[in-house]
Amino acid sequence: MLALFMAVPGGSSGEKTGIMEDCIFKIAKGDKEALAELYKQTHAAVYGFALSLLKNKQDAEDVLQDVYIQVWKNAGGYRAKGKPLAWLFTITRNLALMTIRQQKRTVSVAPEDWQAMFADEPAVNHEDKMVLGALLGSLSDEERQIVVLYAMTGLKHREIADLLDLKLTTVLSKYSRAIKKLRSALKEADR
């Protein structure tokens, strides 16, 4: 399949899609540098999505690692549809669901505990901790997944709806509500 990208003002998401797809094809041929490049481009988004599904730092890290091992093994099965991110997130979600199912538990943790969980991470500054605390502690699962996908990817409304198997209107309204909740949670934490 040949993909053409015409002059697109601010249309970098299309170019990125092309780069990512290119990486996956190279990975299928055993190119480790391509895997490293794909990891660099996408790992924060994959981690964020895994974290929003699992609500557990250690589990999310494990899933993050497994996602790229799956990509390495299964890149040959990827078919170019211009949706490499959707493919990555499907793998992420499946691995996360498997983890949840094996553990037969889901935990909900208070915002303060989330901040504590990232206390040992030198790269995570005070503001980051507040955001993570609000994100993980004050949103419903769906709201969190939606906000993270918006923040971390260039996916379109409809693609996010498809990925989460939600109605477009639900995604739009939950996004708005989630942002409101985040604002008030952060204001609260600031006090």
Binding site: V8, L64, A123, V124, D128, K129, M152
Partner: protein
Amino acid sequence: MTRDHEMERNIRTALEHAAPNKLNSILSSCNEANNNADMSVSSQTESGRKEGAVIKMSEKKRRKTGLAAIAAVAAAFVLCFGGYYLLGRGQTPQVDSIVMLDVNPSLSLYVDAAEKVISAEALNDDAKEILGTMDLKDTSLEVAVNAIIGSMLQKGYLGDLQNSILVSVENSDAAKSQEIEQKVSQAIASAVQTDSSTSVDAAVLSQTVSADDTQLKELAAQYGISLGKAALIQEVITQDASLSFDSLATMSINEIALIASSKHIASDTVTQTGTASDKAYISREEALAAALSHAGVAEGDVSYSKIEFDSEDGVMVYEIEFRAGTTEYEYDINAVSGEVLKFEKEDHGSQGQSAGQGNTGNATDTSAFIGEDAAAQAALSHAGVAEADATYINSYLEYDDGRPEHYEVEFMAENIRYEYEIDLYSGAVLKNSAEQKGNHQDAQQTQPAQTQPAQTQASTQASSGNYIGETAALNAALSHAGVAEGDLTERKVELDRDDGRMIYEIEFKAGRMEYEYDVDALTGDILKAESDWDD
């Protein structure tokens, strides 16, 4: 919807900072995966070397007697020729069949024409544990299966609670496939029976699969499951359209077998002997009792009930439907804990319907709420639609985390589908949207009614008269693409909000090309243009 870019940026930064660097361990795991693949190759070259060893021995013998030497050389020739013949058949020359075993550990045995194992490949971590240091090379298929099943029993992957095994055989010869399928199934049954430490009755599901099914291979790769499991799921969802690949992919073979048998799915391609164990779950009676007590319905009042296993987001549930009086109930009960995961009821005696998600634990007093009918009235009057003009009206309590949050009211009038969120106590409109249905023009507006920033309100209120219109937007895209309208085979134009501005999302096809455009709804500027070969 207005995007909050600052918040998104903060989230992005936080997650980028929080994301661990796993690249090195990923790359080294990939090396391992490669080595495993190499191992199966090296085992083949090793067996090649063995043939060489036989030749060497014959050479030694040759020194003893001349006649024997000639015979030995002849034998060596036969061996070489035989080896060459096998090698000539393809890249992985000796593999005649692939036998896949799925329990939760998933593994593949590569087997030669004489049913000796060439190599074994673990398809997941559980299988790595099972195969461990087992050396199955050159053992007969039956011995290998016996050893693997023994290990699964010992390690608890097979037992009272999970007793189902899927056998999938891939061989270009259909008759040979079936023969191996039967042999392996019997080997499993006897391996399980002879294991004195357990009293497990295995359920063996078996099938033959084709290596040529690229679509299935793609699905298997996408979900990270074996080709055999993908084939089983495919078969199950073909028989019962209410099930999805997605919901079954994370389930174990035992769970899939239970769901399939409780839904009375009969298959021509999958043979099953034995019964899948349901000992890990509460009984059907207990599940029904949990639903009845949640609904406050006495068992004697139930006129009809249906109880089936199902997968809800990868969780094993009992899906229960029952009727009491004129009311129909639908429940999803966690099959392990008996917890109510979802319930819905519909009263056929009146218009009302209520649905919700929640736990038995927090049944809420709803008497202080305005009620579903009042909520529907509030929504209708806000929309300026008379009740008589609505083709249907749904009004129900919407729950979030088990607590009632608002009334959700949906109705349709003159091809417009309305969705409202109504406050539980005051009947105020919290949010509303209207969507045009039934033609290609899918205009849609969503607005949070409660806290509209002035700007949002202004732009949403701006009548579509300010916009250039769908025809002009499409024309702008067509002229950019250099495509004549008459050449279009498919088209879709949608008014949408993106990054706080109104745009027309346009998709069309001409010839073998697919185009996607975003056009500014006010100015007609092309904001995005993409084109793709349609495959």
